[in-house]
């Protein structure tokens, strides 16, 4: 039952895309691509839920030979454990909702069918990535989602900014992917396989490595993680994600918030068993720094989608931090909750943007044209088309319908959007108990603090503080968003007057997602043994770490109740693996105090953030402008996004282009120049015999040869007087000479 289900899950969206591709080739549109794609996605969703029922006390995997060489075989297959199933459900669920939402949002777009086809292709790729049981398969899905991301970011490719953004996204992630590929090469060379599971899989083989190989394994792990850095927009490769907001908003919700960017986290989690202390720490720090930096940048954005984009980066950093700190389950848990509430936030913002579009449409056109975001941006692109790059760097050009400074007071106009977005905001901010985000975030904080206390590790204390600050900042800027958008007085009366609630196709997905932002989602993590962190044979606690005396004897694990992380005592089959712990779980040793402390602290910082936000943006007792002026340098740093774009555009891109030009010139002048030298020498020697040659400098040995030949011919042809007598004379003289010579011999 498992195999056909998985096949169905993969094939449904693929078929939807194939219909589009084939119909496109013959220039006939399939009439209802939107329904086709949506139905395919819903079918996949149903199959995923069926799988949930099927599954699965023990992981299941099936492989087929994909490439078989004389000595090596590369297999393709799927590996189905609880995490896979949860991911499948998350992906299909969000994707289905986004499909439905898009039917309203994208209605009237000239490339409306294509949008759904791309969504289908994306869903297929993402699902393929999720179920793959080997690195090659993951890599394939990985690149394919990258392609879809490219196509969808550049969906409105008439805009120069979109065209730039999609290219940037693909290239930036590809840098990370190359790192991942190098990591794969390392693993392959060592183990002669790229399969992860089973007897001959990488995990089983890596478990047997001795300590001498730890440096190697750390490097390999970090390189694989490079792929995740790129795809999950971690520092320093995060800059593509904010630009990716040039894509249609449902795309931002699906790809750049809920699923694709989370694939990096998923990959890192999959790689959990081969992480060592070093690579774990690197991952944790990258995640922690990303979480903090992106959050600070988000504070000063005015583009509603960019705020959410930086928020996404920040939350992804959170998940990385969790996995790096050993909180496997918490990381994935947060991935799930984040997928829903962030998709909700994006779709909500899409709803707002859509409302403003409608204004334009009514203002300019009687026909109800919903493709205004598109046309709007198009005009925008024309206006500023001359210098897209500088626009990017400054980040100051915000489309009017996305600029929060034009919003305000919308809660009256768009009640459903408002309510649902508020729920999501409360969730992401970590407002306690009735919102899912609180539980997952708290699990991470507790896990990190737990490890810090357990290992007595300075690193993990630092990471905990980073995470905590990020949580506070997150609460602050998310409420800033809500206050600026939905509260207060309308800042732009004209736009406000035209705004309206979105159609049902858009609000229904919002409502569903709002429900999913409540702890109901935790049901996925309900069964105490449902998700077990895999063992980490090469992760050892430092020598000075406090190891609880019962760590070997207790059957430990991690439990998530209906209301999130409430206790953490359960089975850990591999418990006796070695004496130093090797518990790749959620720091349950320090659970008691750690989780309590973490929870209290996180509620405090969240409350502080919300309170400050209220003061700044609702009560306006504090002025954001004056604070910004006071801390001008810091504000600048945030505003300019830590100068990453400037650095990349000004240094790396320029350097690459410069190098390319250099190489091309080198090709034209030096490579030919070397042979030119040879050519000149050749020419001069010949000149001594045949007289004057023309001294023109030519490029290329071939030219030289031709010219030399030409010149020699020019000289020699004088001999061809055309007078027969001369020929005869020469012939005879030659004969005489020859005979004389040979007689002399």
């Amino acid at each position: 039952m498992v195999v056909p289900l998985i096949s169905l899950i993969l094939l449904c969206p693929l078929a939807a895309f194939a219909v589009f591709g084939l119909s496109g080739l013959v220039n006939r549109r399939f009439p209802r691509q939107d329904y086709l794609s949506t139905v395919a996605m819903l079918a996949a969703l149903v199959c995923s839920f069926l799988l949930l029922r099927e599954v699965v006390p023990s992981p299941e995997s099936h492989t087929v030979k994909w490439i078989s060489l004389g000595g090596v075989t590369f297999s393709m297959g799927f590996y189905l454990d609880s995490v896979t199933v949860i991911m499948l459900i998350v992906v299909t669920l969000v994707s289905s909702l986004v499909h439905i939402f898009s039917m309203g949002y994208m209605h009237g777009d000239p490339r409306y069918p294509r949008f759904f086809a791309y969504l289908s292709l994306f869903s297929f790729s993402m699902l393929f990535l999720v179920v793959s049981d080997n690195l090659l398969g993951i890599y394939i899905g990985w690149e394919l989602v990258g392609l879809c991301s490219y196509l969808l970011i550049g969906f409105w490719f008439e805009k120069d900014s979109a065209a730039n953004a999609c290219k940037k996204a693909f290239l930036t992630t590809r840098v990370g992917d190359v790192g991942m590929f190098i990591g794969m090469m390392m693993l392959f060379t060592k183990f002669q396989t790229l399969s992860l599971y089973g007897e001959g899989g990488i995990f089983a083989l890596a478990a047997n490595l001795n300590t001498g190989d730890m440096v190697w394994l750390s490097i390999a792990g970090i390189l694989i993680f490079c792929g995740a850095i790129g795809k999950s927009a971690q520092m320093p490769l995060h800059t593509w994600l904010p630009d990716a907001m040039e894509g249609p908003t449902p795309v931002s919700a699906l790809i750049h918030a809920a699923t694709m960017v989370a694939a990096g986290v998923y990959l890192t989690a999959r790689m959990f068993p081969i992480l060592t202390e070093t690579s774990s720490l690197v991952i944790a720090y990258v995640g922690g720094i990303t979480a903090l930096v992106a959050a600070t940048i988000a504070i000063v954005r005015f583009d509603i989608k960019r705020v959410l984009a930086y928020s996404t980066i920040s939350q992804l950093g959170y998940m990385m931090l969790a996995i790096g700190a050993g909180s496997y389950v918490a990381g994935l848990f947060h991935l799930t909750t984040h997928a829903f509430f962030k998709a909700l936030l994006f779709l909500g913002s899409g709803s707002v943007i859509h409302a403003f579009h409608a204004m334009h449409a009514h203002g300019h056109d009687d026909e109800h044209d919903h493709a205004h975001e598109h046309s709007d941006h198009d005009a925008h692109g024309h206006e500023h088309g001359e210098d897209p790059d500088s626009r990017h760097i400054l980040g100051s050009e915000i489309p009017a319908d996305q600029d929060m400074r034009n919003m305000g007071g919308l809660r009256h106009k768009m009640p459903i959007t408002f309510i649902t977005m508020l729920i999501a905001t409360l969730s992401i901010s970590g407002v306690p108990f009735i919102f899912s985000g609180f539980w997952s975030k708290d699990a991470i904080l507790g896990g990190v603090l737990g490890r810090a206390m357990e290992w007595n590790s300075v690193h993990h204390y630092i990471l905990f503080i980073m995470a905590l600050s990020a949580a506070g900042i997150t609460a602050f800027y998310m409420f800033r968003l809500v206050f600026m958008t939905f509260f207060g007085e309308p800042r732009n009366q004209e736009m406000y007057d035209m705004a309206h609630e979105s159609p049902k196709s858009m609000t229904v997905p919002l409502l569903i997602l709002a429900v999913l932002s409540l702890p109901v989602v935790n049901i996925l993590w309900f069964n105490e043994s449902y998700v077990k962190p895999p063992p980490q044979p090469h992760l050892h606690a430092p020598q000075h770490a406090y190891v609880s005396p019962d760590s070997n004897t207790d059957k430990k694990g991690y439990t998530v109740s209906l209301f999130g992380v409430s206790e953490a005592v359960a089975a850990e089959e591999e418990g006796g693996h070695d004496t130093h712990g090797a518990h790749g779980d959620d720091g349950h040793h320090g659970h008691g105090p750690a989780h309590t402390i973490a929870m209290v602290l996180s509620i405090c910082v969240a409350g502080l953030g919300i309170f400050l936000s209220w003061l700044f943006y609702h009560r306006r007792t504090l002025s954001a402008e004056s604070v910004a002026t006071t801390f001008r340098p810091i504000h600048n740093l945030f505003w300019r996004k830590y100068y990453f774009d400037e650095f990349y555009d000004g240094v790396l891109v320029a350097l690459t282009v410069w190098k390319a030009r250099l190489f091309a010139q080198f090709d034209g002048s030096v490579v030919d120049g070397i042979v030119n030298g040879v050519g000149v020498v050749t020419r001069d020697i010949l000149a001594a015999f045949t007289g004057a040659f023309d001294n023109r400098v030519v490029d290329g040995l071939v030219n030289r040869v031709a010219q030399v030949t030409w010149a020699v011919g020019g000289k020699i042809r004088r001999i061809q007087t055309g007078a027969i007598q001369t020929y005869l004379f020469v012939v005879l003289a030659g004969i005489v000479l020859l005979i004389l010579i040979f007689r002399a011999l």
């Binding site: 001999i719 007087t721 055309g722 007078a723 007598q725 005869l728």
Partner: protein, 102 residues
């Protein structure tokens, strides 16, 4: 009258023919030079036939006869060409007819 007498005469004729062909500025005198050369060859054939082969073998003479025939044919064609050239170039000086000049 040894073989060498004839060979010497033939050699002189040959050389003179060559000289004429080389130096003459008139196509017809070149033709005459060629005729000299052919004659020298024929003379050689006859002489060798006389001195180097058994008396009853007169193949050399027959070859010489063929040579004469060829000379006749050659002269006819040559003169025809000369006429054609004359019509084309208005001259039969070979140095003025140099279309083949490279």
């Amino acid at each position: 009258m040894t073989l060498q007498h004839y060979l010497v005469i033939s050699a002189i004729l040959f050389t003179l023919g060559i000289f004429a062909v080389l130096t003459s500025r008139n196509a017809i005198s070149i033709l005459m030079g060629i005729e000299l050369i052919l004659n020298s060859c024929n003379l050689n054939f006859a002489a060798f036939s006389r001195f180097m082969t058994p008396p009853e073998d007169i193949s050399g003479q027959i070859i010489a006869i063929f040579g004469i025939v060829l000379a006749a044919a050659e002269a006819a064609v040559f003169l025809a060409i000369i006429l054609a050239i004359y019509r084309e170039f208005g001259s039969i000086r070979p140095d003025e007819v140099d279309t083949l000049k490279g």
